[in-house]
């Protein structure tokens, strides 16, 4: 694994509020190695470890992207949904920013059926066949298309199971994490003080509440993916 420079500056992270954890009462004792202090009833995360883990994660992501792997970014918190979508589009990855449907990966066979329906509906819309239907049917199909677009819009380019999954909040996306564990897909998680660091393969202790902190971490990872992709394109 090559160690590269990922522009991780500790002051920048403190400015974004990456070091704030959740309230003291809600902590998970397994996180104690990553917590440096307790201030005003909130745990403070040790940023040096975070920075190290983040740079190692970026290295890993860079190597994977230069090997041509597929990524999936999952983040369904309302605050983070928008930035997850933009980050994924920027990095040309798949993403899930509305509700994670149960069994999206473990029941991939059924998800594919939905994706096919989505594709057929899109096709019909593009070729204008919806005008030939009576108004009520057309309205029903449009509504179905809208639903499928919100839930499956981010994974419409996914042909199979992804190789790496990036999860933004472990508590929120617990089902997604469990699915990846059963399928043995390596996961990168942003871990806060109330999460379990042993579940994910690669855990980055950071704040998952503030939009700025999520943006920062996603920025670094997206940068790594882009670099990896461009080196993959250059090599192949």
């Amino acid at each position: 694994m090559t160690k590269r420079y990922w522009n991780i500056i500790l002051e920048e992270m403190m400015g974004a509020g990456v070091h704030f954890g959740h309230g003291t009462r809600k902590w998970n004792p397994k996180m104690s190695p990553y917590i440096s202090a307790k201030r005003k009833g909130i745990h403070i995360i040790n940023l040096i470890r975070t920075a190290r883990f983040l740079s190692e994660a970026c290295d890993l992501v860079f190597d994977a992207a230069s090997g041509g792997k597929q990524f999936l970014i999952v983040g369904t918190k309302k605050k983070a949904a928008d930035s997850v979508a933009r980050a994924a589009i920027r990095a040309r990855c798949h993403y899930v920013n509305k509700k994670w449907l149960g069994g999206m990966l473990t029941n991939w066979y059924t998800t594919e059926t939905r994706l096919q329906k989505f594709r057929d509906l899109r096709r019909q819309q593009k070729t204008g066949r919806l005008h030939f239907f009576p108004k009520r049917d057309a309205a029903i199909l449009k509504r179905q298309l809208a639903h499928l677009e919100t839930y499956l819009g981010g994974i419409k380019y996914m042909t199979g199971l992804p190789d790496i999954v990036i999860i933004v909040d472990q508590q929120e996306e617990y089902t997604a994490l469990r699915e990846c564990i059963t399928l043995e897909i390596p996961t990168i998680c942003i871990i806060d003080t109330n999460c379990d660091p042993d579940l994910a393969d690669i855990s980055i202790p950071a704040n998952d509440d503030a939009i700025a902190s999520i943006r920062l971490i996603l920025n670094k990872l997206v940068f790594a993916i882009c670099e990896g992709r461009s080196s993959y394109i250059r090599n192949s």
Binding site: A51, Q116, L121, R122, K156, Y157, D163
Partner: protein, 308 residues
């Protein structure tokens, strides 16, 4: 009542006529070896889900050694390498102009192909995913596909009719327990329920293929040592035997051992005689076994010491 139709379906499967009781425990030897279920992307029209989960093995490229071996209680230092010459921080993804939808679609399509998007801006075939999925099995060929695919043989241990009582009456379903194995040391036990016997058997075969374990065997096709296993109220004791003995065990234990390829063994069901639980208990017992070589390596002593 549903009884006559049930017995007729069972009769069609086995040559022996069975007593019409509510518990059909079919003797294993009578049933023909039924068709293997599908693999990955093949599509059976009768079943709604039949492909096993394509499991991603941890690929060699993704090297998580740092994260596996780091001990969080140590002092982890952060020493980033020097920024290269003229390093310009890349813009955040939120800044910068929003890309047009077409540009995004073309970029994705270059990377992944048109997949399920329904539009193709680079001139690729929009319905490319169809060819990878469907493999229509017509009625005639579906029945004839009784060949064993990917080397696993199936044996039905038990088919039972189970009921769920609802306001309108009783809802009947069949529960099939199937043991799947190649005769070379890999076995799996699976359960499946469906409204038809054949569908249930296929579901259970799919389920069995997901939980396959490896049986440690010596060169005389027997176990390395005794072991007990229990699952629920079923306790099973397994004991190796000298060559020429054959498998001396009852019911589901015998089937599991036979499908594993074990030729000489003794087994006893202590505790309950529930077929499914006994099959699972044999699997547990087998998982506890270790080869002599492994134990010698773990303990760091030569194998001769173990036989003292």
């Amino acid at each position: 009542m549903a009884a006559p139709s049930l017995s007729s379906t069972i009769n069609s499967l086995s040559t022996l006529s069975l007593p019409t009781s509510s518990r059909f425990s079919l003797p294993p030897n009578r049933l023909p070896i039924l068709s293997k279920s599908n693999h990955h992307h093949h599509h059976h029209p009768t079943l709604s889900h039949s492909s096993p989960i394509p499991k991603c093995k941890p690929s060699d490229d993704i090297d998580t050694s740092f994260f596996d071996s780091v001990n969080p209680n140590d002092d982890i230092a952060f020493n980033p390498p020097e920024p290269p010459e003229g390093f310009v921080a890349p813009p955040s993804f939120d800044d910068g102009p929003l890309e047009a939808e077409d540009e995004i679609a073309t970029a994705y399509e270059e990377l992944y192909g048109p997949a399920y998007s329904g539009v193709s801006l680079l001139g690729n075939d929009v319905f490319v995913m169809d060819s990878k999925l469907k493999k229509d099995t017509g009625f005639g060929s579906g029945a004839k596909k009784e060949k064993l695919r990917d080397g696993f043989e199936e044996r039905v241990v038990q088919v039972r009719r189970v009921t769920k009582v609802v306001k309108g009456g009783k809802q009947l379903r069949f529960r099939a327990v199937v043991v799947v194995g190649d005769k070379k040391g890999q076995v799996g036990v699976g359960v499946g329920k469906a409204k038809e016997v054949i569908a249930a058997v296929q579901k259970s075969a799919v389920n069995a293929r997901r939980n396959i374990i490896k049986v440690p065997m010596t060169k005389y096709s027997t176990f390395p040592h005794r072991s007990d296993g229990d699952y629920g109220a079923a306790k099973v004791m397994l004991r190796p035997a000298s060559p020429g003995t054959g498998v001396i065990a009852g019911g589901s234990v015998r089937i599991v051992l036979e499908m594993a390829g074990v030729e000489n063994a003794l087994g006893k069901q202590l505790g309950s005689n529930n077929a499914l639980n006994n099959a699972r208990a044999t699997v547990v017992a087998v998982q506890k076994m270790k080869q002599f070589r492994e134990v010698a390596e773990e303990r760091g002593i030569p194998m001769e010491e173990l036989w003292k």
